[in-house]
């Protein structure tokens, strides 16, 4: 099993450009998450999804949109990239609350995004 796969691993954008980060998991997990990691701030939740077709806002959702059209994929979009969105982005997944009550999240390897 590949686990959680993020693409791309690295990207440089210009201010105002748009892009989509893809997260794919092959563990049939219900819950998926997008976090951003910034120096001195740890990881902060951007958006999450509790099942196919659902999305919800996390702690820092502004400037981002997400979609979960298929259970295995969770997409993070930046419509108009800003330098403040320069960060490392992590996707994670978890079984639902019944199976995943005490299971740790499975993380992808991250995407380093630089916005000039």
């Amino acid at each position: 099993n590949a686990g959680v796969t993020q693409t791309p691993k690295f990207r440089v954008l210009k201010t105002g450009q748009s892009m989509t980060l893809l997260c794919a998991q092959d563990m049939n997990h219900e819950y998926m998450y997008w976090y951003r990691q910034d120096p001195g701030m740890g990881l902060r939740l951007i958006h999450y999804s509790v099942g196919e077709g659902t999305t919800a806002k996390g702690e820092v959702p502004d400037g981002y949109n997400v979609s979960r059209l298929k259970k295995q994929n969770f997409l993070l979009g930046l419509e108009s990239a800003a330098p403040s969105q320069t960060s490392v982005y992590f996707c994670a997944s978890n079984p639902d609350r019944g199976l995943g009550r005490n299971q740790p999240q499975h993380f992808g390897d991250g995407t380093r995004l630089s916005i000039l």
Binding site: Y31, Y35, N102, P104, D109
Partner: protein, 122 residues
Amino acid sequence: AQTVTQSQPEMSVQEAETVTLSCTYDTSESDYYLFWYKQPPSRQMILVIRQEAYKQQNATENRFSVNFQKAAKSFSLKISDSQLGDAAMYFCAYRSARSTNAGGTSYGKLTFGQGTILTVHP
């Protein structure tokens, strides 16, 4: 809302020595989970150890152990016999165990501390 605080931005230890990383958290909940994650330069997030709040016994995984003080809301990580491969960023994380029956599902969301960079000297 829960908060997690790691007050040590950087720590260092000599190889084969013991080091303790601190973590405190704030919550009004009684049922939750605590985790320590390791992030080496490869950027991977690797689970080191986890603790269920309802368990009084401190979790242990080989050279890694925790000192869980529920009343003090403290969750420190002790690394014994430190190795060069232990050098990494370490994150403490909190997860509510709330389910629908308890008045709202947390959906497994994690709240992270700021991280502690651990350097291991040969």
